[in-house]
Symmetry: C2
DNA sequence: TAACATTAAATGTATCTACACATATTTGTA
DNA sequence: TACAAATATGTGTAGATACATTTAATGTTA
């Protein structure tokens, strides 16, 4: 459905404003679907992303600073997302022995098992999420256009 | 900058996953800039959108149900966003006389004045927000691709 | 008309983003 | 060595999203 019909606004000031609104709306639309896919597992999208970063480091620990560096959203509060994961015993946290300012965070066996279970279901598969079908060329175009949006010129 | 470099992830499983991540990242990037533009006026983006809907109705009142219908994000809690606007005396709320379940919400003169001031500054102008320059053709393509993403087929 | 369903909004709870500030530790330097 | 600066993380507060539940008013129907 075209964005005009989705949000019942027949006219935009210009196509740039329309693209900006379309971008925000589509990203929100996608997020709702992703969150719904995670709900059965008791995880949110940020929690899932942190778990994946931790598995990438495993069996080495990660610090909060490393998580922030790897996260999409730099300003989000990794510390409190780790709190939630720790409550669910999916990660452990202990003061780093060589630098007591830092905190070593590790994914637990339960965390690894949960990640494996989620990925086995392939819940983030675009088709399963109900997304449109794109050609290789269209995906390339979309990526280029989005990169250009942030080009700051 | 390409999304690979932005988030320091050189490889994606496929271009579809890359586009999904690019979409979320770019929307978040944009939101940060929009929020910063509103900050000097003490408004958030959802608050601004509600005010614009109310101005569209003015001098007729709107109900919470009408606000939700017009909002981009259907599940957001319009009731509490109106709370914030009411505290700032930018809107008024009173029980609808013909249907006492409903609440009539109106933008105040101060609200109209604030909206006018914000729009006079043109703070959401794409160039002012630091967005890339697009041709008419590229904007059309981007809108088509985003619409297609939500096409659910 | 009494009983029940529906509607409109508000409230409760959990999580997240955003930003400022606090605390503890380490490092650099006079 | 003492002390300031930098670093790593945690905490506080405000606003928002998401979803379930509650309250009050209105419709509907037996």
């Amino acid at each position: 459905m075209r964005i005009e019909d989705e949000i019942k606004q027949p006219v935009f000031r210009n196509n740039f404003e329309k693209a900006i609104i379309n971008l925000s709306y589509t990203a929100g639309w996608l997020e709702v679907r992703q969150a719904a896919a995670f709900r059965p597992y008791g995880l949110t999208l940020p929690q899932f992303n942190i778990l994946r970063i931790l598995r990438g480091q495993h069996p080495q620990p990660a610090t909060v600073a490393l998580l922030i560096d790897r996260m999409l959203d730099k300003t989000s509060n990794a510390s409190r997302i780790v709190d939630r994961l720790e409550e669910k015993q999916l990660v452990t946290r202990c003061v780093c022995p060589v630098n007591r300012r830092a905190v070593d965070i590790r994914i637990t066996d339960a965390g690894l098992e949960l990640l494996g279970r989620i990925e086995a279901e392939d819940i983030l598969n675009p088709v399963r999420l109900g997304l449109g079908a794109f050609s290789a060329d269209e995906l390339h175009q979309l990526n280029e256009l989005l990169d250009k949006m942030r080009s700051d010129n």
